[in-house]
């Protein structure tokens, strides 16, 4: 196996007494799509800022293409495309001007950028909007432009912090499609998310983070196989009765989680389990059989849900 593009060992970041990142290790290989999955405050964004060479670390080592981002900030940043959590497009400029000037920040020639703009406007599906001020764009368009902007310098690695947070479902799907194309073109993606569907769609491999630490690492399907059952039965009995019936339900399955609004029962065969519950005359008000997801993995590892 070739040397990883990104190599992180014992990375720790403290803000005063608060430990945001508590000694994490991971590698990202070339062409891989790597995810940091965890709830808000898990330390994902802090990790991203350190990778992006815009934040210093308290201890540990970080190497991006064999360079320490703290020592070689400008050089490391020349390899990266950065898509921050909040769009920070230049509000005084138009769509194409935003792409142009960002390329200039990298020192790229005018001629090169002019050609690149056409390619990127097409990629971001913003050809019609080229001369529009960015303030007038929708949330999804702004996000696509921010991603396109990050690609002006033809980066080796694209860092995406919560790429679809705050977007409506349709805009998210368009964005996923664009990111998937990049992945197919061989761009190395590193992204943070607290959406398990996003992690499942986009990541080849991911780490689950909580309270600044890595809880598990693997492919989405591998993690599900390792930490959860094949299927999940979700049943609701109304908020008061959920607790009441829980002991009885617990005897029927391998593992169970009682949430405030529903009970999750882990099993290999959801329909059969539901049948069993009906025969016991427990009569849930609603029931749903679904396959296990990363949400269940997170719940298993931390005892909490991803989005609270």
């Amino acid at each position: 196996m070739s040397k990883p593009l990104i190599s992180v060992r014992g990375l720790t970041k403290k803000f005063g007494d608060f430990t945001a990142v508590a000694g994490i290790d991971f590698d990202v290989a070339k062409g891989e799509s790597f995810g940091l999955l965890g709830p808000n405050g898990a330390g994902k964004s802090t990790t991203m800022r350190i990778l992006a060479a815009t934040s210093t670390r308290t201890s540990g080592t970080v190497e991006i293409l064999d360079k320490d981002p703290e020592q070689f900030g400008p050089l490391v940043r020349a390899h990266l495309g950065v898509v921050p959590q909040q769009d920070n497009l230049d509000g005084e400029l138009t769509v194409s001007e935003n792409l142009y000037i960002y390329g200039r920040y990298f020192g790229l020639s005018k001629k090169f950028i002019k050609g690149k703009i056409e390619e990127l406007l097409e990629f971001a599906q913003l050809e019609e909007k080229r001369d529009v001020k960015v303030e007038a764009l929708s949330g999804g368009m702004k996000r696509r432009l921010t991603i396109a902007r990050g690609l002006v310098s033809e980066p080796d690695i694209l860092l995406l912090d919560e790429p679809t947070t705050g977007l409506d479902p349709q805009a998210r799907h368009i964005l996923w499609d664009r990111l998937f194309r990049l992945k197919e073109q061989g761009v190395t993606l590193v992204l943070t998310t607290h959406f398990m569907d996003e992690a499942e769609q986009l990541c080849d491999r991911l780490v689950v983070m909580d309270n600044g630490a890595i809880m598990a690492e693997g492919s989405p399907s591998g993690l599900i196989k390792q930490y959860s059952s094949k299927e999940v039965l979700e049943v609701r009995f109304g908020s008061d009765r959920n607790k009441e019936v829980a002991p009885q339900l617990a005897t029927m399955c391998e593992r169970m989680e009682t949430l405030p609004d529903r009970v999750l029962m882990y099993t290999e065969d959801g329909e059969a389990l539901l049948e069993q519950i009906m025969q016991a005359k427990l009569h849930p008000t609603t029931s749903l059989v679904r396959r296990s997801s990363l949400e269940d993995v997170f719940l298993r590892l931390t005892g909490r849900t991803l989005i609270e």
Binding site: L75, P84, L108, E154
Partner: protein, 263 residues
């Protein structure tokens, strides 16, 4: 065609400086082309209005002014002082309010620092942009003053580089101070300092009218040096003093940008 990485590798790597401050000017120009001209025009008109109101209004009551060994017409006396003021206004407008907005609201500098640009690129670029604005203001003012027949000789043109120096000094200083402010209320302090400095720093009358201690205090303020310098060029004498502000401002600004965004 050089790639971004080759460009970054081709120079000695420094955390502070990528050697590309001019891209800030390019960005400033693109943004300026499309924004409206009203704030620019008002910044230029203000000293002209002062000149008309005080020069022709008050000037008729005051008559001549004695400064040092010279006795000159009042309007002629205030013109160079107002030129220095004009340069200061232009530079301050860009280096304080505009910088504050880019620092705290639009987060433009943060975006720039996620590219290979360093804090010194930004400080140099923005201060130069503010300097250009100050230069444009003072050129405009000089044009008006010349049209009114108030320039004593062709050498008054030398007051322009002197005014640029004032602009550069205030731009550096303004940007350094702004980097410490977090709220719009704090930004109000800038006006609290600027207005009295404008009124009392000897642009409208010689500071020899003050008691000795007050004269010393005014002489400690940067604008007085600027006004004296511009006036000296205007009438053909020489003196310096603004260079120190430039050096301090550049140093503090780039250090502060690093502290704010590259922590």
């Amino acid at each position: 065609m050089k790639t971004a990485v080759q460009i970054a590798e081709s120079r000695k790597s420094s955390a502070m400086y990528a050697g590309r401050p001019w891209v800030l000017l390019e960005r400033g120009w693109i943004a300026f082309r499309s924004t409206n001209w009203v704030p620019v025009v008002t910044g230029f008109v203000e000293p002209v209005l002062f000149l008309l109101a005080f020069g022709y209004g008050m000037g008729n009551l005051v008559g001549d002014v004695t400064t040092g060994s010279k006795t000159i017409d009042y309007t002629l006396f205030i013109a160079p002082g107002l030129l220095a003021n004009s340069a200061m206004n232009g530079a301050i407008y860009d280096s304080t309010w505009n910088v504050f907005w880019k620092l705290n609201e639009s987060k433009l500098y943060k975006t720039m620092l996620s590219t290979p640009l360093g804090p010194l690129d930004i400080a140099l670029g923005e201060i130069t942009w503010a300097l250009i604005r100050g230069l444009v203001y003072s050129l405009g003012f000089l044009t008006v003053v010349t049209a009114l027949g108030l320039t004593p000789s062709f050498w008054a043109i030398l007051a322009i580089p002197a005014a640029s120096l004032v602009a550069f000094g205030f731009a550096s200083f303004g940007m350094a101070i702004t980097s410490f402010f977090k709220t719009y209320q704090q930004m109000g302090f800038i006006n609290i300092v600027l207005l009295p400095m404008t009124l009392f720093s000897g642009s409208l009358y010689p500071i020899s009218v003050y008691p000795d201690w007050l004269e010393k205090l005014i002489m400690a303020l940067p604008l007085w040096h600027g006004i004296e310098m511009v006036r000296a060029f205007w009438f053909g004498d020489l003196n310096s003093g603004v260079l120190i502000h430039i050096a301090t401002g550049l140093f503090v600004t780039s250090r502060r940008l690093r502290a704010l965004f590259l922590r």
